[in-house]
Amino acid sequence: MTNHNGTILTVNDLKTYFQTEDGIVKAVDGISFQLQKGETLGIVGESGSGKSVTNLSVMRLIPEPPGKIVNGDIIFDGIDVRELAIDEVRKIRGKRMAMIFQDPMTSLNPFLRISSQLMEVTRLHLGHNKKQAYDHAIKMLKTVGISDAEERIDSYPHEFSGGMRQRVMIAMALSCDPELLIADEPTTALDVTIQAQILELIKDLKARMGTSVILITHDLGVVAGMTEKIIVMYAGKVFEQAPTRELFATPANPYTKGLLKSVPDPAHEQGKELYQIPGLPPDVAHLPPGCPFAERCGYVQEICRTEYPPFIQINEDHHSLCHFAREVYAESVQERQAK
């Protein structure tokens, strides 16, 4: 937890719903968090838990219809993003907050040269002329580790490998030196060897440029070494929120415990089956009245199926959405001490 000199992003009770034929899908249902300047926040969860929708909401990129932000505040550096006219949002997008997407294969426009895709950002936001934008684009490509930038800048995306494309995406996102970078599963579509490189790159650039980062992933291994605090999402809700170290050491939510147990361990005993959380995430269009995780939970009690769980505060920075959060936490602490 380094240079805390103010809050860059506050999300308060955000609700983003989608109207579908199947009914209203509450993709994000009451999410709150704060991001300090220079801090890295990890958002972890399974597919469909609402991680991406949360961040698309912050960027006001939810396709409307069918989606709609129905409640909550998104305060970016004192600006209420939800209240802004879309033209004003566009002045922030790409300039002050930028986004890297999951699949670099499809996130770059296959019909346009890299140069033109890089240049349009700085020409738009920094008022660069052609020459300035071109030079800046080369500089950015070099920054993200593409050493032969001069030769490659006029290539098309399909002439790059997956890792290189993600580098280009990062260069694009960082061209205007944004205050907030949202990385939506930046390594999921990449080779394992490339994953580490890209994460190192983000970490390194973050340290150099002082950008605040939201890192979305379903891979706990990714957030472990990268983030200061973590939000665990499930079925559109925050299940647990804690500083990274504490979350890994003493989780206070059965779901988090399940996730941690399912991470493959190199010291894993051979022949022993790898743990996985039983069942599937619930259909967010038809949530049961009680805890959405009840059906899959090893700690489940009668109350879990009938009553929605409370968001219990364990200590100053640690919260968990569970009827038995304190008990689960106590168990984790015990396990920790036993080791």
Partner: protein
């Protein structure tokens, strides 16, 4: 790229020969001939005519003679002909692309007839093509952008109507309303610009509708793609997102359709020319078929099929300019 074009151009030759052979065979196989009419010719005269045109020879010699004429052959000693393309190599004169004289229009060569009537069809075809392209693209893009709005439903309902109404129905309806009813435009014939309007609309309707639907579908598909989201995340406004990032990918299905469409528009003026009494190639083609005018049928079919193949090649080449991922081998 160049070798691709050359290869494709080269393939046109056997394809065209195949089309010519099939057409020639079909005309022969079909019962009746140019000379079988209500008025019976005296046998002696029929014999003479057949001899003049080489129809007394066995079918394979006729076929080879025809093939030589329509491609290239050397002229025999003392043979004089005004048709086709002629050039000399030393002593011998070579003649190419000679489809002979029309049987019906005495003394007029097929090449000459095509040349004379083509401009009408080309004018109609190109104007209809441009109209279909401009209106179709615009309607499709607007419908895609305002998806599920009244504008979308309205334009797509119109497109559905355009697709379902055959041009031999649409043509007379337009004539009834705008020529005979409102007296705004002339009902038929060729002359000035006002004569062109109704036939061009009739001809373009179905293509316009098709292009509008293709554009809408293509744009909807592209505007949902990841790279459009990236473009929006950069803070670009919707117009830039649409025109710079969306359009190229969105109109690829339209481009694949425009090659056959242009060929179809030039060749498919048959009905429209008949409805509006325009002396274009289509009208002549119908006459030729009704008259069993073998050389003329053959000439027009060969000409149009080569045209279609060239347009398709042009479309394939244009893909490369639209989509940099496409490589020619």
């Amino acid at each position: 790229m160049l070798s691709f074009i050359l290869k494709r151009l080269f393939i046109i030759i056997p394809m065209a020969l195949l089309v010519i052979t099939l057409t020639w065979a079909l005309i022969r196989i079909a019962p009746g001939s140019f000379y079988s009419g209500e008025k019976q010719l005296p046998p002696a005269i029929e014999e003479n005519i057949k001899k003049k045109y080489g129809l007394d020879k066995p079918w394979y010699s006729q076929y080879l003679l025809m093939l030589g004429n329509v491609t290239c052959r050397t002229l025999a000693e003392g043979e004089v002909t005004k048709n086709g393309l002629q050039f000399s190599i030393g002593q011998t004169t070579v003649k190419c692309f000679d489809f002979g004289d029309s049987l019906k229009y005495q003394g007029q060569s097929v090449n000459e007839i095509i040349r004379r009537h083509l401009p009408y069809s080309v004018t109609l075809g190109i104007l209809a093509y441009l109209l279909a392209l401009v209106i179709g693209l615009a309607a499709g893009i607007i419908a895609a952008l305002k998806q599920n709005s009244p504008l979308d439903y309205g334009s797509m309902a119109l497109a559905m109507l355009g697709l379902s109404l055959p041009n031999f129905v649409l043509g007379p309806i337009l004539v009834l309303v705008f020529a005979l009813g409102l007296h705004w435009l002339p009902p038929a014939r060729w002359g000035n610009l006002s004569n062109v309007i109704l036939p061009v609309i009739t001809l373009a309707a179905i293509y316009m509708a098709y292009i509008a639907r293709l554009t809408r579908a293509g744009m909807l598909e592209v505007m949902r793609s990841d790279y459009i989201r990236t473009a929006r995340a950069k803070g670009l406004n919707e117009t830039t997102v649409l025109l710079k990032h969306g359009l190229r990918g969105g109109i690829i299905p339209v481009v694949s359709f425009t090659g056959p469409a242009l060929a179809g528009l030039l060749a498919g003026t048959v009905v429209v020319e008949k409805v509006f009494a325009i002396p274009g190639l289509g009208n002549i083609f119908i006459q030729a078929v009704l008259n069993r005018d073998e050389p003329l049928i053959l000439g027009i079919v060969a000409f149009l099929s080569i045209l279609i193949m060239i347009f398709n090649l042009a479309v394939d080449i244009s893909y490369g300019f639209l989509d940099p991922r496409i490589r020619y081998e």
